[in-house]
């Protein structure tokens, strides 16, 4: 059993000694918020992730509940907050339900994606 204990300690030490330490990026919060109802059309989407992301491989699309695509800009990332992605919305949103589809690559190249809805109140 001595070898087993040595193996456990070695594996644990390797894990802790690893220099590159990043993770999957999941959506932490957004504006408009996931599942929220807002008054008036937002001018942009702001998505905050649990990890820093690579803007060149990240983006978000917005569509109406009926599936009609809404013009949206290219994703940009705050230099001071590299986990926050901004996407400008190309036109004013009418009252209704909208679906946001996002995809990001975290800086360790893990890819994640997701969708959520928000509502623009009349």
């Amino acid at each position: 059993m001595k070898q087993v204990r040595i193996f456990i300690l070695a594996a644990f030490a390797c894990a802790l000694a690893a220099t590159a330490a990043f993770a999957h990026a999941f959506l932490d919060h957004a504006a408009p918020a996931v599942g929220s109802t807002v008054k008036g059309s937002p001018s942009e989407l702001e998505l905050s992730f649990t990890q820093n992301i690579v803007p060149a491989f990240s983006g978000a699309e917005i569509a109406s509940a009926e599936g009609g695509a809404i013009p949206a800009g290219k994703a940009s990332v705050d230099s001071g907050s590299p986990n926050v992605m901004h996407v400008r919305i190309g036109r004013a949103l009418k009252a209704g339900v909208y679906l946001v589809s996002w995809h990001v690559v975290s800086i360790d190249t893990h890819r994640t994606s997701g969708t959520y809805k928000f509502t623009v109140a009349p």
Binding site: F7, A15, A20, A21, H24, G35, S113, Y116
Partner: protein
């Protein structure tokens, strides 16, 4: 638990089955769904991670209804991907301290080869199978107060997992279920004392409600809850072949044992912490509510370019929308 002297080797094996569910470990991601490393059954994917420690506590019952032994176990598992769909793991139920009567010892080493047959990111569905070998006599010697099982056991396993992120009703989308069915065949069926080592069927399931998924996809939740996955779990073991003759005054050797209970998982960036209250389903399974807990390190996140990537080929794509 107190072992009846007449139980012999079969009794020792049966006792091993009765101390509650040992933690089953590993987490995986399919599409937008994180299946945590659940405590009663393994999750349905392959991954690079280290579960250390995995803790189990259970109080057994004696056949006469009195409280039996109390067991505390610290186990571990290291899982490594060979390819994106093929994984190898080595682990053990580790070291057990038992009270009433006092005993302690190391469990056997287990190795496992697991393959993901199919996964569908869009529908958050995954199906996998594995072959596990518990290598006999690799734990404490037979002279120890709590010896390891002296023979090897080969187990075939099937796993499935389904997240309901594709459901049309938003309230359903955070739910997920996982299941596992095992058939364990001992390499020695008859012991010198006349007792038998049964072939067993183990089956379990989890129902999960991911607040992490809810926060990202349905409705934002307060910060304190957004990394939690509450669940309800169950696991049962039924001897199906080579069952010993019942001994009056003892538990039936054909009795199904199992535990059920609520659990909750905290999913951090580099690790997971899980705890569960394991409630024995009958006196053959235990006398009081026990506990399971695990700290699971995500090596694919901690060291994505070394320990955390498959030995061959690219890492598993984690989502279907890019």
């Amino acid at each position: 638990m107190a072992l009846h002297p007449n139980h012999g080797l079969g009794g020792v094996l049966a006792a091993a089955l009765l101390i509650g569910a040992p933690p089953a470990l590993a987490h995986t991601i399919v599409g937008d769904r994180v299946f945590p490393a659940t405590l009663t059954i393994d999750d349905p994917g392959v991954n690079d991670e280290l579960a250390l420690p995995a803790f189990a506590y259970m109080t057994a019952a004696n056949p006469n209804g009195s409280t039996g032994s109390i067991s505390y176990t610290l186990g571990w598992e290291y899982a490594k991907t060979i390819t994106a769909d093929l994984g190898f793991s080595v682990g053990s139920n580790g070291y057990t301290w038992q009270k009433r009567p006092n005993a302690h010892g190391w469990a056997d080493i287990e190795t496992q080869l697991k393959y993901v047959f199919y996964q569908n990111a869009e529908h958050e569905f995954i199906f996998a199978g594995a072959v596990n070998v518990e290598w006999g006599n690799t734990g404490s010697p037979q002279s120890a107060s709590l010896p390891s099982t002296p023979f090897s056991t080969i187990t075939g396993k099937l796993y499935a997992g389904k997240g309901f992120g594709d459901a049309s009703a938003d309230w359903l989308r955070p739910f997920a279920i996982t299941g596992e069915v095992d058939c364990s065949v001992p390499t020695v069926t008859n012991n010198a004392d006349g007792s038998m080592n049964p072939t067993t069927l183990t089956y379990g399931a989890t129902l999960q409600y991911s607040l992490q998924y809810m926060n990202s996809h349905v409705q934002e939740v307060p910060d304190a809850f957004k990394k939690l996955i509450p669940a309800f779990e169950a696991i049962f073991t039924t001897p199906v072949l080579n069952i010993s003759t019942p001994i009056p005054g003892n538990f039936s050797p054909s009795a199904t044992t199992g535990v059920v209970g609520p659990s909750v998982y905290y999913i951090g960036q580099y690790f997971e912490i899980g705890v569960m209250a394991q409630i024995p389903v009958n006196s053959a399974s235990g006398s009081h509510v026990g506990a399971l807990a695990v700290v699971d390190f995500f090596l694919d996140d901690i060291a994505p370019e070394s320990l955390g990537k498959p030995l061959f080929g690219a890492a598993q794509a984690r989502s279907g929308h890019y």
